[in-house]
């Protein structure tokens, strides 16, 4: 023991031991809560949550011993979830998943099977015998595809407009300001619903509407950051050496605007994942045979989820964990790269 971790000997009992014990107890409770069929759902959820809490506390202590006191367990938890989900989405076609959307092929499957975490339907099935794990993963695929492409589009367009407005100022800035304010005159979800009235609900249209939501925020941030840098010495020096506007914008200002804007983009992803899920939940997003977390949760409406809570809880857990992970990662990125002093 002493030659393994000599630095931890000052504290008693050693944090390594407490950490490991907490993590093991937490893991046992988590697995017990998730798999025991004898308990009712709320009790299961409570035991599993307690286990998760203990597991995180244990992992936090272990991490602090291993990587120093700056270790942020929640951040790594979020990052690990995103990595796992990303891998699962990429490999989904080759994973041994049950049927996710073709109702005709699931006639023989059990309906409303409860999650057992083992066997052919680890997360249970819905009213048509479709596998919830497969549906959640394919739902994650469309949800993330939509949100990521919308954020990418919104960031590029909004960032470019904001930088131009912040650099040239005067009338350009005024026009951009009025345009963004008008876009902000309608609350985000209402704007989405209004667009859903007239646009066909397929992937590209939903992504386009969501991109429209991200633009005002991006414009404001890019504009403020550009203005803060526009009169700094290195920009003045570049201008004095004869650099053109394009060169100043791309080579001098863009590298400084990029990090804050990208950090906002990460936070924006979680907002868009929620917006997309809300739209599907309201029946105005991607339509049912194609699974999304929102329309999977909508399947539990009425009396269905009162008898079969897992119909809502399974996609709900995916949605929560993903939004949480993007929030944690985004907050971390913002704390590091988006200093408050930059905002005007």
């Amino acid at each position: 023991m002493s030659d393994l971790a000599p630095r931890t000997r000052t504290a008693f009992p050693p944090p390594l031991l407490i950490g490991a014990a907490l993590a093991v107890v937490g893991l046992v409770l988590l697995v017990f809560g998730a798999t025991t069929p004898q308990l009712v759902t709320p009790a299961k959820a409570a035991v599993a949550l307690l286990g998760l809490g203990l597991l995180l506390a244990g992992a936090s202590r272990l991490g602090k011993v291993w990587a120093g006191p700056g270790f942020d367990v929640v951040f790594w938890f979020g990052a690990a979830w995103l990595l796992l989900l990303g891998l699962a989405i990429l490999c989904a076609p080759w994973l041994p998943l049950a049927e996710d959307r073709d109702v005709a092929s699931t006639v023989a499957e059990p309906v409303f099977a409860t999650p057992t975490f083992t066997g052919g339907h680890p997360l249970g099935t819905n009213a048509f015998g479709l596998d919830l794990l497969a549906r959640s993963l394919y739902g994650a695929r469309s949800s993330l595809l939509i949100s990521l492409s919308a954020v990418a589009l919104g960031t590029v367009v909004g960032g470019a407009i904001g930088m131009v407005a912040g650099y040239f100022q005067k009338s350009v800035d005024r026009v951009v300001g009025i345009a963004t304010n008008s876009l902000l005159a309608v609350p985000p979800l209402i704007l989405l619903i209004a667009l859903a009235t007239v646009l066909q609900p397929h992937l590209r249209n939903v992504a386009f509407s969501l991109a429209l939501l991200t633009i005002p925020g991006m414009v404001r941030l890019a504009r403020a950051t550009t203005m803060a840098y526009a009169n700094r010495e290195f920009v003045v020096a570049a201008r004095a050496m004869g650099a053109g506007r394009t060169r100043i914008l791309l080579r001098e200002l863009l590298p400084n605007v990029l990090l804050p804007v990208l950090s906002l983009a990460v936070v924006m992803i979680s907002v868009l994942v929620v917006a997309e899920a809300s739209l599907s939940f309201l029946g105005l997003g991607i339509q049912p045979p194609e699974p999304t977390w929102g329309n999977m949760i909508a399947e539990g409406e009425g009396r269905v989820f009162e008898e079969h809570p897992h119909i809502v809880l399974v996609p709900g857990a995916f949605l929560f964990l993903t939004v949480f992970a993007f929030n944690v990662v985004g907050e971390k990125a913002r704390g590091r790269w988006d200093s408050r002093s930059v905002k005007l």
Binding site: P42, V74, I178, A179, N181, S182, L183, L184, A185, V186, P187, P188, L189, I190, L191, I193, A194, L195, A196, T197, V198, L199, Q200, S270, V274, A277, S278, F281, L282, G283, L284, I297, G300, E301, F305, E306, P309, V312, G316, L319, F320, V323, F324, N327, V328
Partner: protein
Amino acid sequence: MSVAALRRPALRLLELLGVLFIASIGVFSLVVLMPGDPAVDILGAGRAPSEYAALRTELGLDQPLVTRYLDWLGGALTGDLGRSVVPPQSDVTDRVLSALPVSFEIAALGLVIALLIAVPLAMWSAYREGSAADRIIGAGTFGVLSVPSFLAGLLLILVLVNSAGWFPRSEWVRIGDGDLLGNLHHAFLPALTVALAELAMFTRVLRGDLIVTLREDYILAARAKGMNPLRVLFTDALRPSSFSLVTLLGLSLGRLIGSTVVVEYLFSLPGMGTLIVNAAGQGDYPMVQGAVLTIAVIYVVINAGIDLSYGYLDPRTRRVHV
């Protein structure tokens, strides 16, 4: 008030009208984005061409777009938002006016609940900064922020309606029916759902401000005089810490409206949310236009009001008039 003092609100009003004008063009041009022919959508396919033409004339679809926009805007300014294109073709203004009070009640009640919970929670958290309670409140509010309102609502139904049986599930009781208690009983759960996300945000922001305020010398002086910590928190620390809460109130208004819409749909309450979602599902564009315009006007006006109120709340933001 001098003329100079009135200039800022007047300019703000002018800007506000301009923004609303552009937004109204945007709302109206939704029809242009619409695929297909509204007349075919309403009557269904396979009718005689003259029937479609007659309906188009009746709806004014054969007029140029600018004329139609001006007609619509003129109607909207005089309180006539047109008629729904979906049977029973009800009057849009009537439907909006009957839906608004429900939404207002849910949103306002949600805000009150959020503040009632957030203020003590933030005080406790800030007063015991770094303690276990503070960390648990911090983690809890961060977690709540990641729960979309429809999911929160379903979970609340699962726990409070199904397991505990404390609240009825649906059936809305209007305030006007005289049964105030019944109304509150029905409104509480939707309002609590709306409140959850807001209260997490409020708690986090107010906690941050309170921590800064509590480090001020005058707080130390008050404590040194032997004043009760609770009294110091409420009378000395809360007011100077509440400015960013007011800012946040404005910023979170959009989210508040969004979650009210979703929650109304979830609890099937006859508010603006249900109205607009159903109309959107049926492609009932006059209804959507009317409802969106109404919401936009309310949203922009409240935001402008909050903007102007800074000057009265915080003297530092007032311009110096000579």
